[in-house]
């Protein structure tokens, strides 16, 4: 191979927010036609790096304190300009033209009051001087290139009229409209469904091949890395931990951190807990139908039926995994079980009592038996309550603990979820995400429930943190015989904890069976599609199975 000068070369990059340094001397090169993946957990400085390259970091309140970012000029690949010290006007010429960026959140990264056409046109006018018909035609072509159906019509639509996947395609089209030399993609698929994610990844790959650009791909998902990257950089707390070819990394990670990361990543096919033999049913759902809205004559929305005739049984000591893509009705089912919404029809049998029609008072006695852990550990804990009160609240409400006994109980609960006992005097915001989720579990445990409904309980957490939380849940199940209804859109995680798996699609259970059977011999077409979309490691290295990892949408894509 001929010597191929890097198109972008970062040397000793230091980025600081105020007095806090977020990136401590990062160096790397990207060559034309190459995909470089930047991985690391939340807060490791990935976005800071990406934003520094475009010098957008200053707008976010940060600063490049040291280092250079050299971009090869378009005329001569051997001469470079240093983006770190370029004048704003010259910089603006490069942004969107030679270096383009796709952001994580397709829902909020497009201007809600401008049409798609106008937003694309802006770039075209700026860098290509195109206006009117010409611009429109170019914009249409850009949309066609990212395989958006009916591109002509999209030009006059507003972002809110498009689904999340389409919006991300628009973002990509916008980034690629001037055919940049470098594309920076900051977690472009994290907010998307697995199936959509697969399509987007394929699209980026295809376009890269066609346009020959360099791609800096930021992700925390090793599965995605294995699908798309040529080389990988592992970042931790702003430090470069490891750099190498993808195959090398997966085959023989050099650093402890990379190894730990790989180990925590759940991989499809790792095997599920063995099914229980005929457990005694603790929760039985029969023909549950749940819908929203359509209340009064003045109601804005037409009613949405989120759950359509679901029947399920949960046995004692069993974990039932519930998977399905975003918006399929998983949470609605959970909320129905918890009686946070009332079912339109159907029966909920909880330990022999029908609870679907009980009023608030009568229901209260049953609430102690079934508890819920929510997806977002930040929002599920009242920020203004002390931990002691938070974790003992259910028990207190059920009269299981007198006011004076709450502190002792809290310490006991904290210990059971492996949190320091002195945590009782703190507030929720003083904990990390994983710790908060432990608080939620402790809270649920305070009433010694027989069933815990975990709705995306680990989706918001880092791989390693998520791993620790699922381990905790498994331990609790072992020790106390609690049954779990474990809801997730991530099949790999579900596999790891579930005895049985139910697959939900558009409000219905399309497949239900023992975990191994559902995963290895899926009967329903949708299940097969779901499994196929999970990113797989296509190196022929260590991992026989597939790699995938938890990724949770922050804002769910409405369907």
């Amino acid at each position: 191979m001929l010597r191929n000068p890097p198109v972008l070369s970062v040397k000793n990059l230091h980025v600081a927010f105020g007095s806090v340094e977020a990136v401590h001397g990062l160096s790397f090169d990207i060559h034309r036609g190459e995909t470089l993946a930047l991985v690391g957990e939340s807060g490791s400085g990935k976005s800071a790096t990406a934003l520094s390259i475009l010098r957008l970091i200053e707008r976010e309140g940060g600063r490049i304190t040291e280092g250079s970012i050299r971009l090869a000029t378009s005329q001569d690949p051997d001469t470079t300009v240093d983006l770190a010290s370029l004048a704003p006007a010259a910089l603006r010429k490069i942004r969107g033209d030679r270096i383009a960026m796709v952001f994580q959140e397709p829902m909020t990264s497009l201007n809600p009051v401008m049409t798609i056409g106008a937003q694309l046109g802006e770039t075209l006018m700026l860098h290509r001087g195109l206006r009117g018909r010409a611009a429109r035609e170019a914009a249409r072509a850009a949309l066609a290139r990212v395989r958006i159906p009916e591109p002509e019509r999209r030009l006059d639509q507003y972002p809110h009229e498009l689904s999340g996947g389409l919006r991300q395609r628009v973002m990509i089209a916008m980034a690629l409209v001037c055919e940049p030399d470098v594309l920076i993609a900051d977690e472009p698929t994290t907010a998307l469904d697995v199936t959509t994610q697969a399509e987007i990844l394929e699209l980026i790959e295809g376009l890269q091949r066609k346009l020959g650009m360099a791609v800096l791909f930021i992700t925390h998902d090793l599965g995605v890395v294995s699908e798309i990257a040529d080389r990988v950089l592992v970042l931790k707390d702003g430090d470069l931990i490891e750099e190498g070819r993808k195959s090398d990394l997966f085959a023989a990670p050099q650093s402890d951190y990379a190894r730990e990361l790989l180990a925590a990543t759940p991989r499809l096919g790792d095997g599920a807990p063995a099914p229980l033999a005929d457990p005694e049913p603790v929760l039985q759902l029969r023909d549950i139908v749940t819908s929203y809205g359509g209340g009064g004559p003045f109601s804005r929305k037409a009613p949405v039926t989120a759950v359509r005739g679901v029947s399920l049984t949960l046995g004692r000591g069993e974990t039932l995994g519930l998977v399905g893509e975003s918006g399929c009705g998983k949470s609605s089912l959970a909320r129905t079980v918890m009686r946070l919404v009332d079912p339109v029809s159907g029966e909920v049998d909880l330990l022999g009592s029908q609870i679907e029609a009980l009023d608030h008072k009568a229901l209260k006695a049953h609430r102690a038996k079934i508890q819920m852990v929510f997806q977002d550990p930040y929002a599920a804990l009242n920020p203004r309550m002390m931990v002691r009160d938070l974790v003992t609240e259910p028990a207190y409400l059920h009269g299981m603990v007198p006011d004076g006994g709450r502190a002792a109980m809290a310490r006991d609960l904290l210990e059971r979820v492996s949190l320091p006992a002195d945590a009782e005097n703190r507030y929720a915001h003083q904990f990390s995400g994983g710790q908060r989720q432990r608080l939620c579990i402790a809270r649920a445990l305070s009433v010694s429930p027989q069933i815990i409904v975990a709705d995306e309980a680990v989706s918001a957490l880092d791989v390693s943190t998520a791993r620790r939380v699922t381990d905790l849940m498994a331990r609790i199940q072992r020790e106390e015989g609690v049954s779990f209804l474990f809801i997730s859109h991530d099949i790999a995680v579900v596999e790891r904890v579930s005895h049985r798996i139910a697959v939900m699609y558009e409000g219905e259970i399309v497949e239900l069976g023992e975990a191994a059977q559902v995963l290895h011999a899926p009967r329903h077409a949708y299940t097969r599609r779901l499994l196929a979309a999970v990113p797989r490691v296509n190196t022929n290295m260590t991992f026989a199975g597939d790699a995938s990892e938890a990724h949770a949408p922050r804002a769910h894509v409405p369907s």
Partner: protein, 295 residues
């Protein structure tokens, strides 16, 4: 990753808290607030003259440093020969008391209605929001005018009128907050823990309302000060001879060309007072809204 919030948030909070001290204007406002409060509270001790004591022979005397200055009357005397400074300080006291009482009444009335609207939904909410719309559509000055003309402007009525002046603001804020909070998972969490509506409102909703309400409270305070002076302009404010900042300005305005000092001291106090309160309110708001501080 979704959980971006944790470290960033913590850092931002820290920054925000550090940021407090940075703004000189806010520092000045805080000092001003303390001074004004002290002046109001200790007015009877600070003032050498009876605020009601007339001296018909020493009317309209200018402040210290001008010709015809009447000894002791630092800020001059008014149209009945009363000491402007003494009246201003007592006026400040009354005005602040009125503003506080009014803001509290508004808080209680509007807050309750907003809370009910936010929690009860349905026609109760529609009804309350219709009231809010109505209140918005009828300029408040008119309402005040009617009520005061009807009931005569005694202090009690005035407090009541000033109190209901801002109720709809409170109601809207509280309702909005309540609805926002109601959508928070921790309310679901409380419900699944077996909490009833009263417990939820008391333990989970109210504490989260505190900071927006504190902000609104400060804004209401300064609005009421202005409103009181406007009512005084129309002759409906605090009644003479009782001094309030607003009534001193409202009744003294005819003397602005000839004896501007009558109006100057109280007007200055009004401006200082509202200015201070506004800045404090804004500071509180910025503090309450983490995002605002950061961008």
């Amino acid at each position: 990753m979704v959980s971006l919030a944790d470290p960033i948030l913590r850092m931002r909070r820290r920054k925000a808290r550090k940021g407090q001290g940075a703004d000189i204007i806010q520092k000045i406002a805080m000092v001003m607030a303390v001074l004004l409060a002290a002046a109001a509270i200790f007015a009877p001790l600070l003032t050498p003259f009876d605020p009601l004591g007339q001296s018909l022979l020493a009317r309209l005397r200018p402040p210290l440093g001008f010709e015809r200055y009447a000894a002791g009357h630092l800020a001059g005397t008014d149209e009945l020969g009363r000491d402007v400074l003494s009246r201003s300080l007592h006026g400040l006291r009354l005005t602040l008391a009125l503003a506080f009482a009014g803001a509290v009444i508004g808080l209680v009335v509007g807050g309750t209605l907003g809370l009910v609207a936010g929690l009860r939904r349905g026609w109760v909410e529609d009804g309350i929001m219709a009231l809010v719309d109505m209140q918005i559509a009828i300029p408040f000055t008119l309402v005040a005018l009617l009520v005061l003309a009807l009931m005569g402007s005694s202090l009690t009525v005035l407090v009541f009128v000033l109190g209901i002046a801002g109720w709809e603001q409170y109601a809207r804020i509280v309702r909005g907050e309540v609805r926002r909070i109601a959508a928070m998972p921790y309310l679901d969490a409380a419900r699944t823990a077996g909490a009833g509506p009263l417990y939820t409102a008391w333990r989970h909703v109210l504490p989260n309302l505190v900071s927006p309400l504190v902000v609104q409270f400060t804004l209401a305070l300064s609005n009421i000060v202005i409103l009181e002076s406007t009512l005084s302009f129309l002759g409906l404010g605090v009644q003479p001879p009782q001094p309030s900042l607003g009534s001193m300005v409202g009744l003294g305005r005819d003397y602005m060309p000839t004896a501007p000092w009558i109006v100057l001291t109280p007007a200055l106090l009004i401006v200082l007072l509202t200015f201070t309160v506004q800045i404090l309110g804004d500071w509180l708001r910025d503090r309450a809204d983490v995002r605002l501080r950061e961008r």
